[in-house]
Every structure is written in C-alpha cells, then in structure tokens.
Chain length 339, copies 2
C-alpha cells in the first residue's frame, strides 16, 4: 500500500483502511501523520457525544442502546471506548464489549477500544486522532466512552460536542463529594439504574447542586462554557445559558435511552443556535494545536541535547547527585534553544 | 513570611511549613518554585515506596500497617495518597483516609492527599514536588499510594524506589488480562485479602507469568529495569536480575505486613548493591528535567504567540474551519521559535 492510499480508502468509508491507520497511529509508524494530514480537511462533520461515568455505572449498556436508536434513524456510528481501568479490569470490561459487539456485523457501526498507553497526554491525543479518522470516513455520530477517573478523561470528555455524565445510586454518601471537574463538563446528567433505591436521592442532590450553581452564575455572570436554552427566567438566568437536564434511565431494561438521545439533539440544536458549537470547535482546535506544538518543541529540544553527546545523561547525573538544580537547568536550556 | 522562610522551616522538619508550601505549589503561587529550588540540594535521602493497585484492594489498610511497622522502628513516615478516582468516589475513599488518620496525632507521620487536577502531567509533577518537600523535611520513608488505573499512575509508580503492586482475588477471570504496564513496574507483588477464595489462583497465575518472563529474558537478556538478587540459577537467570517476590497478606487482620516491609528492605539492599538505585535516581532525574523543560518551552512559545496579538485565536479559528492544517502549523511555529 503506497502513501496516501489509506487516506483515500478511508474517505470512501473503508472500515479496514480506517482500522489499519488507527493501528499505525497507535504504533507511531512513520507516514501515519501524513495520512492524518490528508484526512484533516475532510473532518468536522461528525457529531461527537461523550459518555463518562464511574466503573459499573452501565455506560456500555447506554452506548449499546444509543447505537440501536441511532441505527434506527439510519445514522452511521463510531464508538471509541477509552479504558484506562482495563489495566486492572481487562477481563470484566471485555464482557461489556462483547455485548456491544452485537452490532459488530453492522457495517455502519465501527467500534474501537483504546487503552491507556504511551506517554503523558497520549490518551487524549490518540482519542483525538481516532475521532478524526472516524469523522473522515463519514460516521455521522461518534460516541466516546470514558471512565471518568482522571484528568485524561476530563480532557477526553471535552473533545465531545455533548458530554453525558452517568451517575448511579450508591456511589458514596453524597453527590457533593464528586469532584467539580467531572460535573463541570456535564451537558446532560444520566442517572442510570433508576430502579435501584437511592436514584431519586441522586436526582435531588444533582438538582440542588445545579440550583447553587445557577444562583452563583446569576450573581457573577461568568463567561464560559455554560450557555443556556432556558430562554427567559428573569433575575437569575442569562438567555444564553444551558441548563443540564437530569434524566433517569434503566438502560439494561431499555428504558430512557431514546429520551437521552432526544436530549442530546436538543443540546446540539442549542449549540448551533447559540454559536457555542463554533466556540467549542475553536477551543478544541487550540487544544489540539497546543498539544502538537508541545510535542514538536520538546522533540527538537531533546534531539538537540542528543546531538551534544551525552548532554542529557550528564544533566540527569548532576541532578541525581544534587550538584545541579533541575529548575535552573531547564530555564537555561530552554533559553539556549530560544536563542 | 518572607521568601526563603518556609524552606528554612521545612529543613528543620516543620510540618505546618511543609503543608503550606505544598498548598502554594498546588495553587502555582509565585515564589513556590524558588522555595522548592532552595530545598532541592537537601533532598535524596528519603526512601520512596510506591503502593499501587485497583480500587478496593485494601491499599490504604496496607499503608496503615506499614506506617505502624515503620513507627515501631522509629522511622518518620510521609504518605502521599494520589486519588484520581476521588473524582467519583470521594466519599468512600475519605473513609479509608480517616482510618489512616489514627496516625494523625503522631508528629512524625505526615499524610497528604493529592487529587487529580491541573493540566496534563499535573499529577506526576505535583507528586514529585510533594516527595521533594517531605524528603527535605527529613521523612525517612515516603509512601506514595496510587490507584493504578492510568498512565499517570504508572508514571507516579516509577518515582518510587520500590513499587508494590497489590492484587486481590476476584478481580476478573485472569491475571493475564491485566495490562503489562502495571505488572512491569512491580518490584513486589502483594496478594491481599488472602483469606478469600481464589487467592492461591492469583498467586499461581502471577508465578506462571513471571516464569514466562524469566524464560524470555533468559533468551533475550534485555537490559532494563529488571535486575536480580537470585544469585546463581544457571541457564536462565542473569546474576543481576531481581525476581519480584509474591507475598500473601490479610492486611485488615494485620497479617503479612511485617513480611512485606522486610521484602521492601531486601529490595532496597539489592538496589544499593547492584548499582540499580543510582540508575533509577538518574532516570528519575531525567524524567523530572524533561517535564520541566517541556513546560518552559511551551510556556515561552505561548507567551510569544500571545504577544503577536490574537495569533493563537487566529490559528485556532483556521484549524476549526479546516483552512489550516494543525500538524503543519505546529511544525512551522516550532521552527520559527527555534530560529
């Protein structure tokens, strides 16, 4: 296969070519970036949905239901399952995957699992690349499923147009204990396993939390990600603020998934009408660019240190012996490189 | 408090000064780096133990037991609990912490929790800074507890001199399903909750996995992290290879923790005798330096783009519209900066 051939086949929707390019990107094979570059102008059409939540909250079952609903609407679907926890629970999660593979024979559903690997930032980078490949091959909707347990996952969630945070009863004493980072990225809250005791409590606590947030934002009117549908509610709500709905689901019984998809469409329409979608595209582009720039800068710095025989080893030895100060050395060498 | 005052107090072992500096580092307050720089030459004395394993494997109970054993030997102990999962399970984990706080009244035990926050790489960076502060204040042993569910945690595990990977029965069908990344960093395996069914199976599977690894390394003799105590075992084991022991524990019943600490000491002696400790110090120093360098380089690049009014916004808008290629732009701008 010559250079450029994969990208051409991907643009025609060839699933095997897409899989091959993703593998090449994962393995950092030479030429893979060039293929991505060729695809880039043809991306930006897919709608990206993020599904995040703790292990055991039934995310895969929800994704499974969303795939079915989307296929009924004749949409093609890409799924990227990001599983850093598979480092420990590979076996268990595999079971969920296999269930999801009920759609594996459907040629318009493309499922890809990504595990955490590579260097820091590797997860969000390879997820971004995966989204671009699926986007270029023409998937109408791309679902990114992440276990929301770290900064990496928050970053990944922010790649989505609409982010659904899945919660379940019994996660702990208090929704308030959940760190702000995850809740802040939520465009929609899905309380799954709503047949279990405590589901109403989770809903009440989320509602109370949103009340507080609304009151605070009514006072401060901070510009930011949050914009809204809830047109006129005088006194405490800006016209352009999105109020995350709280939905109850029993995905395993097939209940609530259609409602979730409708909510996602409502949010998409809000993004389009408010200009927020364009804003998000731009901040996503800035994030991607900064990540690439950081890689290039560090790459050329390290190559330069390598050319100066053993300089990195020397630096490391001096720091390890505490005869040099890493902070000052980093400053000096960054200065040299900028000259 | 003037500049430099905190670091002086920390070097005298002042716990409140150490807490204050850690908070300042977390909040990226100006002057915090300078305090760290002053501490740096006085670091490198503490022995760092990493404890990593899945949620619910009883890591906190093991840490609790290790603190008690170390205190009996009159060692001062620092504990850094890294909890990215607290994004979801804040409540539950808090309970463990409170138990650990039985040692809170002991002035020679210093416990600090770190949650995931800040930018990519933030977790390993702030853990590294925390280790340096505790080291400078004179803690003999520093225990870093991480939930081993992502690349961040693998990076953190690699900051330790001795890394203990905790496993429990019933984690999934197969130890083989556990990703290599976590197993590769293990210097010691601790199979906790050994009173549960299936503990022997976990031990057997780990043993089988190590057999395979030993056979492979006997063939390839790959240089790397693995070096060994197991002096002469002709045919398949190099003299300098460390064979990770597999220990059974019931930490909640207080069984096996002393044995674990003895194993950690055996590993420490191995590191000293084999020269591996110095090697690890150097590679840790190189990692720290590269992280600092990356930050400086990106920082000055972004400041330069900011000075050129709106250039980053312009770049982001062009990428979002697909009129510019982020890969090529990153290359170009990195080139400009290096000129």
């Amino acid at each position: 296969l010559g250079a450029g051939r994969l990208s051409e086949r991907i643009l025609r929707g060839d699933v095997r070519a897409a899989s091959r390019l993703m593998r090449r990107i994962d393995d950092a094979e030479p030429g893979a970036i060039e293929e991505l570059q060729e695809l880039f102008p043809r991306t930006g059409r897919a709608y990206v949905i993020g599904i995040t939540g703790p292990p055991g909250s039934g995310k895969s079952t929800i994704v499974d239901g969303l795939i079915a609903s989307l296929r009924k609407q004749d949409k093609s679907v890409g799924v990227i399952a990001v599983d850093p926890t598979s480092a420990f629970t590979g076996g268990a999660i595999l079971g969920d995957r296999i269930r999801m593979q009920a759609h594996a024979t459907d040629s318009r559903v493309f499922i890809r699992s990504l595990a955490t690997r590579g260097s820091l930032g590797g997860l969000s980078r390879s997820t971004g690349d995966c989204i671009r490949v699926m986007d270029a091959m023409g998937q109408d909707v791309i679902i990114v499923e992440t276990v929301g347990v770290g900064q990496d996952e928050i970053d990944v969630a922010q790649m989505a147009h609409t982010t659904v945070v899945v919660l379940v009863p019994g996660m702990g004493d208090d929704v308030q204990a959940i760190k702000a980072g995850i809740l802040e990225v939520a465009d929609i809250f899905a309380v799954n396993k709503a047949d279990l005791d405590g589901a109403d409590r989770v809903v009440r606590e989320l509602r109370a939390m949103l009340e507080v947030r609304r009151a605070v934002s009514g006072l401060t009117r901070a510009p930011g990600r949050s914009h809204s549908l809830a047109a006129v509610r005088p006194g405490n709500l800006a016209d352009s603020q999105w109020e995350p709905p709280i939905l109850k689901l029993s995905a395993a019984r097939g209940e609530g998934v259609d409602k979730l998809l409708s909510s996602i469409y409502v949010h998409r329409d809000f993004l389009d009408r408010s200009g927020e979608r364009q804003k998000r595209e731009r901040s996503r582009a800035a994030m991607q660019f900064i990540a690439l720039l950081r890689e290039r800068l560090l790459g050329s710095a390290l190559r330069k240190l390598e050319r100066e025989r053993g300089r990195l080893d020397d630096v490391a030895a001096r720091i390890a012996e505490r005869t040099a100060d890493p902070y000052q050395l980093a400053e000096e060498i960054a200065g040299e490189l900028a000259e």
